[in-house]
């Protein structure tokens, strides 16, 4: 009695042996009431690819055969009694997500069977297990890769709608009917537990990612919000060259205004491109954007687009600058205001995202927006609005500054080693001093105090340049160049006020350093983009699991050894679940792992198991609970 099936590819397991009782196949389609009594427990554990997302599904093309109830009933009808010696066979059908590389096929190595059979020992014969893997022809319908569905907007339904609209034939997707809900966003502690590094972008050794780590994810999924850092870097350079060209104290350099025009046009184009791409990500991968928003470091980069626009307005060539309206200022500050209400409110209300827990140097990005807005507003001639944002920025900057300087033991994100992110410390005081000068109309004492603080911080980082080592390049580094540029502009502004050789030399020197850094970064970026092709690596930091899962490979290694033990043990004695449970803790862990990786609707096991025996049922329930997979399985079923 072999159930024939055909899908894209599947695996059939034949159990030709004396199974006097019926096989209990757990799947989402089987109601416990339909199951025959005295069902045996079979747990199959399937080694899948890293996502562990094996779905039991039935292709409706061959529905008549694949109905598990009928599959169950067929063998049952034939040999219901203990004395029946006929070979029973039953097939269990698994369908795995289609893999373009066929990796799954290689990795499907083993199915472990555990049967709790109450058969008398004498009856036990060799229980051979034949595994036949077949790769049937792919169905003529284009199988959509469902791996990334949990990150797509409305869990992939949007994409299906669009495909429908485009007229592509769709295979009937049965899972959709079950109400695919988006994976819940991990809590902020999970981000700290699972990730490490100064930008919280490296997965810890003990963690697994929800998406396959070895495959290259879709481009949009790999496009982080920190890409807007590039706009920040280039547009701040435009401001620098504009200041160099227009400032009287640097007029001896005879800088041409066309450099500013060129840089401004480049940054405008770059901003347009990156916004365009990211808007696609918002439309198609909204869940991924939400996860970025909940990431304690990445959330600050949501200010970056608006700050970049403010920089563009500030660095606009003079013919364009006079045409800018106050409404533009209000339009740019409104999103910054809303984001601030959210983030500062979280700090104040002291919940999970309170400052002592999440403080990290990237928080400066949320503060600098206020000062940049104040600077632009004052340049446009507004009075109260710039003062409003300056006041908010100053108050919260004091809080953040103190917190970061304290390097609280409760804060987990501050890196032990120095990282370019520390340059963000220089950003706030330098921009604040310029904003205050513009608001007051002159570079007074308050501005000078801010300027000197910025200089001091810059110097303390510069002398420690040796410690900036050993970090993987990332696009976010662009965001850390704008503080250097900001310090240069502040130095130029100061030299306008106090004009002597020292100040002029300082301003020229700082400008040279910042230009050099940006150029070096540009070369590195081009290198990574076109030569090394890893400018956009897989964005692991958004793909952390909700709960800590032991790494699958480790479980499977255990299971492999355990499975072979079982085979040997079979010949000698029965292995009952209780015995297995009472073995050493290791086995228990293995079994928990097995239960976890099983994709057979294990949750329904205990219900049917009530007929078998309370002890067994409770043991299985224990396994399921321990593995904490109840909900996960519930989601899949």
């Amino acid at each position: 009695m072999l159930a024939m099936c055909s899908t894209s590819w599947g695996m059939r397991v034949l159990l030709p042996e004396r199974m006097e009782n019926r096989v209990h196949i757990s799947s989402k389609r089987v109601l416990p009431e339909e199951l025959p009594r005295d069902a045996e427990h079979i747990v199959t554990e399937l080694e899948t690819a890293a996502e562990g997302d094996a779905i039991i599904g039935n292709d409706s093309e061959s529905s008549s055969v694949l109905d598990p109830v009928s599959a169950v009933k067929k063998p049952a009808a034939l040999s219901p009694t203990l004395e029946d010696q006929r070979n029973q066979s039953c097939s269990l059908f698994f369908s795995l997500p289609a893999s373009p590389s066929g990796l799954h096929l290689e990795q499907v190595k083993k199915v472990i069977m555990f049967s709790d059979n109450k058969v008398e020992q004498s009856e036990s014969t060799s229980r051979s297990l034949r595994i036949i893997t077949t790769t049937t022809a792919r169905s003529e319908y284009c199988q959509r890769d469902k791996t990334y569905d949990s990150f797509k907007t409305w869990s992939g339904r949007l994409e299906k709608q669009i495909s429908n609209l485009r007229g592509k034939p769709q295979e009937p997707d049965l899972e959709a009917n079950n109400g695919y809900e988006a994976a819940a966003i991990p809590a902020v502690e999970r981000y700290f537990d699972a990730l490490e590094g100064p930008e919280l972008d490296t997965l810890k050794e003990s963690e697994v990612s929800v998406l396959p780590e070895d495959k290259k994810w879709p481009f949009l999924l790999r496009f982080p919000i920190s890409s807007f850092g590039m706009c920040l870097g280039i547009s701040s350079q435009a401001i620098l060259w504009k200041t160099l060209a227009t400032s009287p104290s640097t007029s001896f350099l005879r800088v041409s205004p066309s450099i500013n025009l060129l840089l401004w046009c480049i940054s405008l184009a770059l901003m347009a491109t990156i916004s365009f791409i990211y808007s696609f990500k918002i439309v198609f991968y909204f869940e991924a954007v939400r996860r970025e928003y909940c990431h304690p470091v990445r959330v600050n980069f949501f200010f970056a687009p608006w700050i970049a626009c403010l920089f563009l307005a500030l660095g606009a060539p003079p013919p364009v600058a006079v045409k800018l309206r106050a409404t533009l200022w209000y339009a740019l500050m409104a999103p910054i205001f809303c984001l601030e209400l959210k983030i500062y409110g979280q700090w104040m209300s002291g919940g999970q995202r309170r400052l002592s827990k999440v403080a990290n140097p990237s928080n400066h990005l949320s503060i600098v927006g206020n000062f940049v807005g104040a600077l632009l507003g004052a340049s446009m001639g507004l009075k109260e609005g710039p003062l409003f944002f300056f006041a908010i920025g100053l108050a919260h900057y004091i809080v953040l500054f103190v917190t970061l300087y304290q390097r609280l033991p409760t804060s987990e994100t501050l890196p032990k080693e120095l990282h370019p992110v520390f340059f963000l410390f220089v950003a706030a005081p330098s921009v604040a001093c310029m904003a205050w000068a513009k608001i007051r109309g002159e570079f007074d004492l308050g501005s000078k105090i801010g300027y000197f603080i910025a200089l001091f911080l810059y110097l303390s980082l510069a002398v420690r340049i040796n410690f900036f080592r050993g970090f993987r390049f990332s696009l976010a580094w662009w965001a850390y160049t704008f503080p250097m540029t900001g310090a240069s502009v502040a130095a130029i502004r100061y030299s306008m006020e106090v004009t002597n050789v020292l100040t002029q030399a300082l301003s020229v020197g700082l400008s040279a350093i910042s230009t050099f850094t940006v150029t070096a970064l540009l070369v590195t970026t081009i290198l990574h983009a076109f030569v090394l092709h890893d400018l956009f690596p897989n964005d692991i930091s958004i793909a952390i699991t909700q709960k800590k899962k032991p790494k699958l490979n480790k479980i499977l290694a255990h299971l492999r050894s355990f499975g072979s033990d079982i085979k040997d043990a079979d010949n000698s004695k029965e292995v009952t679940p209780d015995e297995a449970a009472s073995d050493d803790v290791d086995d228990n862990v293995r079994w928990r792992g097995a239960a976890e990786a099983a994709a057979l609707g294990v949750a329904s096991l205990p219900r049917a198991a009530a007929t078998q025996g309370a002890a067994t049922a409770s043991w299985w329930q224990q396994c399921v609970d321990d593995a904490g997979i109840g909900e996960e399985v519930g989601k899949m079923t």
Binding site: M348, G351, T403
Partner: protein, 373 residues
């Protein structure tokens, strides 16, 4: 009288004796114990009413700005203001007397309250209320001797409490700031700022600057600490969430105090006002924070009113300086909001007085202590 005093110290649950005399004694004792259960948190009521009185006085004052909105406000009859002032005065007097009774009869409880990280801040509240009443008094001019004497009478306790509380913050073993900081600690800062404003009105500039600098220095430390939130929301029970409104009361009061000291609403005052406005917006956008405390009426609800009155006051001063439409509309909205909230609270108090009255003393220690002897 002595037997009554002794009886008070016996905990209620032990008195299960069936005789009539004892039952009567229990009944009278519980009424008396209710009187002594008026902890300092009840001074929120007097704070709110006195803050409202000050707001009304400022709104009624003749102003140089001939804007129509202010004129609308001035058509409030001054009789209403006098009524409000009298109500505030009588309430404050009653609460002070009740608290005196409590001090006399249940001193250990008062001591326990003093040692509590939330309770100790409300010991400032009566003095703040008296100072606010003083500033809003319709018959007392700031340059009279009476005003001066009363200022000294109310400011000295505040200074004494400052030394105790602020000294504890950085010297005491178990009670340093990172452990005890909670939003009610801002009341201590507000006390200094109110004293500074009252002194500045009198013309005593140096004392005003002294108290202002005390307040502002500790406000800076407290602001940073509260934003950091070492203990998270655990330090405050969810019933006390309304005290989060104090976050924007302190900068508004600082703005008013500095305006009195520097005789004009300058940039510094504006910046403080903007900060308090932002914090107000930030709290109003988070109604979930207050949901649990809004389930049952309690005296904590009175914590909503005083910060709104102070914010409205600061908005009034701001609108006077920046004579724009936006500023005036803002002032009107905030003033109306604070009046409405206070009126609602008074109505709630009248309807649900039972919920408001103290059923037990949260700082009860006197009974247990004496029992141990």
């Amino acid at each position: 009288m002595e037997t009554a005093a002794v009886e008070l110290q016996i905990p209620r649950q032990i008195q299960v004796l069936p005789t009539d005399d004892h039952v009567a004694a229990v009944k009278s004792k519980s009424r008396l114990s209710m009187l002594t259960c008026f902890h300092a948190g009840y001074f929120r009521i007097s704070l709110s009413l006195c803050g409202q009185a000050l707001l009304w006085k400022t709104l009624i004052e003749p102003t140089t700005d001939a804007h129509a909105l202010r004129a609308v406000v001035r058509c409030l009859p001054s009789a209403a203001f006098l009524l409000l002032w009298s109500v505030a005065f009588l309430t404050l007097l009653a609460l002070c007397l009740l608290y005196l009774v409590r001090c006399v009869l249940c001193f250990r409880s008062v001591r326990a309250e003093f040692a509590h990280h939330v309770g100790m801040n409300y010991i400032f509240a009566p003095w703040i209320s008296w100072l606010l009443l003083l500033q809003s008094a319709p018959f007392l001019r700031p340059n009279t001797r009476g005003y001066l004497l009363l200022w000294w009478l109310f400011a000295l306790p505040i200074l004494a409490l400052d030394v105790k509380v602020y000294g504890q913050w950085f010297t005491q073993g178990k009670k340093f700031l990172s452990m005890v900081a909670n939003p009610t600690s801002q009341i201590t800062v507000i006390g200094n700022l109110v004293g500074a404003r009252a002194a500045a009105e009198m013309g005593w500039r140096e004392s005003a600057v002294c108290m202002f600098s005390l307040g502002i220095a500790h406000y800076l430390v407290l602001f940073v600490t509260l934003y950091q939130r070492f203990l998270g929301s655990d330090s405050l029970p969810s019933m006390l969430r309304p005290v989060f409104f104090l976050f924007f009361a302190a900068p508004s009061m600082a703005s008013l105090a500095w305006a009195s000291i520097s005789s004009s609403f300058d940039t510094c005052c504006k910046m403080l006002f903007f900060l308090s406005l932002f914090l107000f917006a930030s709290l109003v956008c988070r109604p979930a924070l207050f949901k649990r405390s809004m389930r049952r009426f309690s005296v904590a609800w009175w914590a909503y009113s005083f910060p709104l009155s102070v914010l409205a006051l600061a908005a009034t001063e701001y609108a006077q300086v920046v004579k724009g439409a936006v500023a005036n509309v803002l002032m009107l909205i905030l003033a109306v909001l604070s009046v409405v909230v206070t009126l609602l609270l008074m109505v709630f108090t009248a309807i649900r007085t039972g919920d408001l009255l103290p059923h037990d003393d949260p700082f009860i220690l006197c009974s247990f202590d004496s029992n141990l002897h």
